[in-house]
Amino acid sequence: MSACDKSSCGCGDNETIDLVAMSRRKFMGGAAAAVTTATLAPGITVMAFGGSTNAAEHKPRWGLLIDVNKCVKDCDACITACSTENGWKEPVDLLRDAQWIRKVTLKDKKSGFEQYLPVMCQHCAEPPCVDVCPTAASFRRADGIVLVDKHLCIGCRYCMMACPYQARSFIHEPLSDQKEYAPRGKGTVESCTLCVHRVDVGGTPACVEACDATGNGAMMFGNLNDPESAIAKRIAEYPSSQIRADLGLDPGVRYTNL
């Protein structure tokens, strides 16, 4: 495990997160019941959790799978849930207000066939926003979640120029009523955090939960690296696609029936 000295950075490289990940595995049941230990020397113990020998289980890659066929035209439950959860007001000034997630309508130019899908930060494995950020404020956690360190962001907006998904918003005016787990600030850039505060305690992003609550079930969250996870199984079983796959960024958000 790499050492991270920034206890508040949320990068996932610290002991607390590992403990949380352990408890999540226990919570998720079954496999974690089997714990193998081996003592190498006095005081040094190697512990192997779970019955699975798959090393990927120890390095999650959180992601989303969105079934476009199940995304309903007039539903905006995911957007409202994200806005409520993370404290960004539903946009009034559409040009300037933050939008962490938006619903895009696609219309086939020839046939007129319409589809609807939510678009947010795609949590790329090779994020251009992280590449271009001069101060390393934009960063990718070991578990694949792409975040902005609000203490390092100087508000240059180069990440917004670089993001192929138009996923980021700049805060144009002073803010109030922020959520303590989703700090925001005038003059900095922000985007979907994949509800990192929920994920780190074994939860699910608010958008996914809200989508499930409507009964549409268009959004699925999980560990893309765990072949036993529902999301990985679905991706292995059915065709899925990435937005702008041509860029080779390996986004963590995938779409089916697009």
């Binding site: 946009p91 559409l94 040009l95 300037r96 933050a98 939008q99 938006r102 619903k103 895009v104 309508t105 696609l106 219309k107 086939d108 130019k109 678009v119 251009p128 992280v130 590449d131 271009v132 950020c133 001069p134 101060t135 390393a136 404020a137 390092l152 962001c153 100087i154 508000g155 240059c156 907006r157 180069y158 917004m160 120029m161 670089a162 993001c163 192929p164 998904y165 138009q166 980021r168 918003s169 700049f170 805060i171 144009h172 005016e173 002073p174 600030g185 005038k186 003059g187 900095t188 850039v189 937005i243 702008r244 860029l247």
Partner: protein
């Protein structure tokens, strides 16, 4: 050719008048900065689609022009053209001043300008933006050293030439870096092209020389120190050549895009129906910013006349601002293509052309960048031995009289 004598500018009404004028612009710019900083970027025309607006146009123009302004010195030291050597100090000072002006605007337009120290202490070495921070500070240091060595007595010519060559190499790197800020953006139709780097170098040659000519003329007018007509015409011819090189790169860029069907909609936006961007491209950049000045400068009689050369330089500056506006703002106004082949719509302007009208504070901040560059230049000339007592043709070119007779 006589020995060049440099003197500080005399404290005339003209010199102080210029400093007061530029100072007023700088103060207004600081006011605009305070207003934008206090209320946030909500008071500007910028938004989540057009994230870089008019301040970036001015900042990039000044930074690009800065490296170009050094060319006059480079032509003297690196390429050994004797007539350019007396202008080398002016060239170096102007280069540093323009870069400072550009950085002034760039920094004050940040969302968190108070965190500028973070940009100096926390680096992401994969970011071309971070590389540029090093290139800018390096440029100021190297050109500053070059200027110092030029003014110091007893410096061996080989050392001066070596530093001159190093500065020339650095300026090429710097403009490559500035062009690559756009050239390395993979996501957008308008950018993601290697041609951006050499095109920005060509632009720097053109804009930098145009500003040098204008500043030299202002200083000559205010101080009464002569600036030879033949020398000016020679700079004018070089300026026309640089403007042609810019046009060449613009042509290559657009022809390459036009050949690929996937870029047709972007090309159509810029060249045909992009409104202000199309107007600024054809009228601002191509017509009055390139063809008219090139015509003026190559004209057999006009090309030798002082007012025509000054006008041409001014038009190239305006054309340069137009060109950068089209690249920076026009490039963002064309929507990102997330779903090629589909009509796209959302509350976040997916598939829609970006909307941007520059606000007054943005214009004031941008102009303050120009003013601070000019103020530093004039102030530097006032306190240092930068400007020769004469740049008359007979003083800078030993063969001037022969050429005239011949």
């Amino acid at each position: 050719m006589q020995r060049t004598v440099y003197r500080e500018l005399e404290g005339s009404v003209g010199v102080y008048g210029l400093l007061v004028l530029f100072g007023a612009f700088v103060l207004s710019g600081l006011g605009a900065f305070w207003y934008m900083e206090h209320f946030g970027h909500i008071v500007t025309g910028m938004n989540n689609q057009i994230v870089w607006g008019l301040p970036h146009v001015f900042a990039i123009f000044l930074i690009v022009a800065a490296s170009g302004a050094l060319n006059v010195a480079s032509i003297g030291s690196v390429f050994g053209k004797t007539a350019y050597k007396p202008m080398a100090r002016m060239s170096g000072l102007l280069a540093i001043a323009l870069l400072m002006g550009g950085l002034f605007v760039l920094v004050l337009d940040l969302g968190r300008p108070d965190r500028i120290i973070v940009a100096m202490t926390s680096y992401n070495f994969k970011s071309i933006f971070a590389w540029n921070i090093l290139l800018y500070t390096g440029f100021m240091g190297i050109v500053g050293a070059y200027l110092y060595l030029q003014m110091e007595r007893g410096v061996p010519p080989i050392l001066l030439k070596s530093v001159g060559i190093f500065a020339f190499g650095w300026r090429l790197l710097l403009t490559t870096g500035t062009g690559s800020i756009f050239g390395w953006l993979v996501a957008r139709e308008a950018y993601d092209a290697a041609v951006m780097a050499p095109m920005f170098i060509a632009m720097s040659l053109s804009f930098g020389l145009a500003i040098f000519i204008l500043v030299a003329m202002i200083v000559s007018k205010v101080t009464g120190r002569p600036f030879g007509g033949a020398l000016l015409a020679r700079l004018g011819k070089l300026l026309a050549l640089f403007a042609i090189v810019v046009l060449y790169f613009v042509l290559v860029q657009h022809l390459t895009s036009l050949y690929a069907t996937e870029h047709h909609s972007y090309e159509r936006f810029i060249l045909v129906d992009g409104g202000i961007y199309t107007f600024l491209f054809w009228v601002g950049h191509i017509l009055i910013g390139s063809l008219v000045p090139i015509g003026l400068l190559y004209h057999p009689t006009m090309g030798k006349k002082r007012p025509a050369i000054i006008l041409a330089a001014l038009l190239i500056v305006l054309g340069g601002l137009s060109q950068i506006y089209v690249i920076v703002v026009g490039g963002q106004a064309f929507p990102l293509m997330l779903f090629p082949g589909y009509e796209v719509q959302s509350t976040f302007y997916d598939g829609a052309f970006g909307q941007y009208v520059p606000s007054f504070p943005e214009l004031v901040l941008g102009l303050a960048g120009v003013a601070i560059a000019l103020a530093i230049t004039i102030f530097g000339m006032k306190i240092l031995k930068i400007v020769p007592l004469t740049l008359a043709d007979s003083a800078v070119d030993p063969h001037h009289e022969e050429n005239k007779a011949g």
